[in-house]
């Protein structure tokens, strides 16, 4: 799709040649003449990325190497400006966090939460997409109804669920009571709370999966199914050998997106349980938030350390994922 900004055939071979030429005499000038408008077009974004993402990122990494907390950072109280007085402590924060069992507990639960949420969401999304990919009356209606959880802002839905889950007055427990079952401590018992946050996150995530996979299903040519059917392939065989391979590209993308979103899913946990009861549903990002904004004194350095570790984990995940795709011949 891309039109080469270069005018010579040699440069069309790829970026590598451009870079090689850039090193030669006059190469930089030529590169500038050829590419200046492409560079001018990306300049605003590069600037924004550098100033409000790059700089804070560097600063975050630096903070993780200090002992900054709310008492020793630079701040203004009334008319007085207090200078920062925190100091560089090297990797102390990392040793402290990594040798603390809390980090490993959070990591295990975060990974479990992510894997369960993504796999359940994907399975349900795939099943519903397959059902909606047929011709029948009421299809548009079902589609609309099933997409609703996505249309409502997330934090509103989470409060709706908190209302349903309420132990004494929530509709779920009242219905169970009517059926002769005792009240379930949806959000007040560690195990139930874990199940509840997963339920809510799946409920929030299924519509996106379903719509994305439905799009993928509709792009699979119908002739493939006809041909398979003539050859006597069963429904399962058609699903296994036509539908699944046809959905590969879109599945890879939505699974990657959904994994990252779930791993970083702050609002569901924070608004539903605040990480509780105790700290049983605290995932890595809510823990990082708690360090800096809930616990007292606010531990900025500790929070930054958690942040860096979370980012490192996600990067490793993305690289491994990308490599495994490459191995299977995907060009992503």
């Amino acid at each position: 799709m891309a039109v080469h900004t270069s005018r010579t055939a040699a440069q069309a071979a790829g970026d590598g040649t451009d870079v090689a030429r850039g090193r030669g005499r006059g190469g930089l000038k030529r590169a500038l003449a050829t590419h200046w408008y492409a560079w001018a077009m990306v300049a605003p974004v590069v600037l924004v990325l550098g100033v409000i993402i790059g700089w804070p990122l560097v600063r975050g990494v630096y903070l993780s190497l200090t002992d900054a907390n709310e008492r020793n950072v630079a701040r203004t109280i009334g008319a007085n400006t207090i200078e920062a007085s925190y100091s560089f402590v090297g990797l102390d924060n990392y040793t402290a966090v990594l040798s603390d069992p809390v980090f490993w507990q959070r990591l295990v639960w975060t990974v479990l939460w992510t894997v369960v949420c993504v796999s359940v969401t994907f399975t349900l999304g795939l099943a519903l997409a397959n059902m909606l990919n047929r011709n029948f009356r009421g299809r548009a209606f079902y589609r609309m109804a099933l997409i609703l959880p996505w249309a409502v802002p997330g934090f509103v839905s989470v409060f709706a669920w908190r209302f349903l889950f309420n132990r004494d007055n929530g509709i779920l427990n009242k219905v169970l009571e009517g059926g002769g079952i005792g009240a379930i401590p949806w959000l007040d018992d560690p195990t139930w709370a874990k199940l509840s946050v997963i339920t809510v996150n799946v409920w929030l995530g299924v519509p996106f999966m379903m719509v994305a996979l439905l799009g993928g299903l509709q792009s699979i040519p119908g002739e493939l199914y006809e041909a398979a059917e003539m050859d006597g392939a069963s429904a399962w065989q058609r699903f296994r050998h036509i539908t699944l391979p046809g959905l590969r590209a879109v599945s890879m993308t939505v699974i990657l997106l959904s994994t990252i979103w779930t791993f970083n899913m702050f609002p569901v946990i924070f608004l539903l349980t605040r990480g509780g009861p105790g700290d049983s549903t605290e995932i890595l990002v809510t823990q990082a938030f708690r360090e800096a904004f809930v616990s007292s004194p606010r531990d900025f350095a500790g929070s930054a350390t958690w942040g860096v570790l979370i980012l490192a984990l996600l990067m490793i995940f993305a690289l491994v994922y990308r490599r495994s795709l490459r191995k299977q011949g995907e060009v992503w």
Binding site: D15, W150, A151, E226, A249, N264, F270
Partner: protein, 286 residues
């Protein structure tokens, strides 16, 4: 489904036995009920008198009492205004800054393109946990905590990479021949972009804008950390004030939820088809 293959002459492809039809509809009805019920329940509760918020009746003495309370006794409309301001400005700035970049990475091959695309992708998976502390300290030093501007700048960190990525996907769907015809007519790349491509990409721009609006509208972490005090809250913070550890004001909470959700949901229904296409196309063709 096996019935279809065992009796191919009786039924055409895609037709189902009555039993399979019933199962299909039953499953879909169950799924739809689960999807709709929480939202519906909030809507119904918001119309009950506040003291009956926890009643299990579907409809009970319908009244707008909760809405009246919201308007008269809370800062709901201040929060609403704050959210509109923050999300609106973020969206306009985000789309404006990112439009040219989306076009450049969609059309041109230039040194630095691949690293840029990677950066755009990677920054989208940044957890807020890594940026929140430095941004909080920075805003504190600049005196921008509790200011809409502080939150707007912060949201640009989310909106800009996302908008650029989405718009690349939309520009990819516009045939390159249009650019070429522009060049033949003597337009420079900026002219081509501004006069030919941007007007064609209007639906894509609208969807991108809408989605970054919704993202900013629903953001919780930064809003909870940066904004305090009743008059400065955005909706995400304001809604939290109804239901705390100690109080549960379900009536007004549900009414506020309805007022927050309705505009978003209406727009969403129109935008969602393009939305998925844009997101997945951007990611797979990258």
């Amino acid at each position: 489904m096996t019935a279809t293959t065992s009796a191919p002459s009786a039924r055409k492809r895609g037709e189902r036995s009555p039993l399979a039809s019933v199962a299909l509809h039953a499953t879909l009805i169950a799924a739809s009920v689960i999807a709709v019920f929480p939202v519906l329940w909030v809507l119904l509760t918001s119309l009950k008198p506040a003291k009956d918020a926890i009643s299990t009746d579907f409809v009970k003495d319908p009244t707008l009492e909760n809405y009246r309370y919201l308007v008269e006794s809370t800062s709901f409309f201040t929060w609403f205004g704050n959210s509109v301001l923050v999300a609106g400005v973020t969206t306009v700035l985000g789309v404006f800054i990112a439009a040219t970049t989306g076009y450049a990475v969609s059309r041109f091959k230039f040194p630095g393109m691949r690293p840029l695309m990677w950066t755009l992708l990677v920054t989208q998976m940044f957890p807020m946990a890594i940026l929140i502390v430095p941004l909080y300290n920075l805003m504190g030093q600049l005196g921008l905590l509790n200011q809409p501007l502080g939150l707007i700048i912060t949201y640009l960190t989310i909106a800009v990479p996302f908008c650029a990525w989405m718009m690349k996907g939309f520009f990819d769907t516009i045939p390159v021949e249009i650019d070429e015809s522009g060049r033949v007519d003597g337009l420079n790349p900026f002219g081509t972009f501004w006069r030919l491509i941007l007007p064609l990409a209007r639906p894509g721009l609208a969807v991108t804008a809408f989605y970054s609006f919704i993202t900013a509208w629903g953001e919780v972490a930064y809003a909870s950390a940066f904004m305090v005090g009743d008059d400065n809250l955005t909706l995400a913070g304001g809604l939290q004030t109804f239901v705390t550890q100690y109080t549960a004001n379900w009536g007004p909470m549900t009414a506020a939820s309805v007022l927050i959700a309705i505009p978003a949901a209406i727009f969403f229904v129109f935008a969602q088809r393009h939305l998925v296409a844009g997101m997945t196309a951007g990611a797979t063709k990258g």
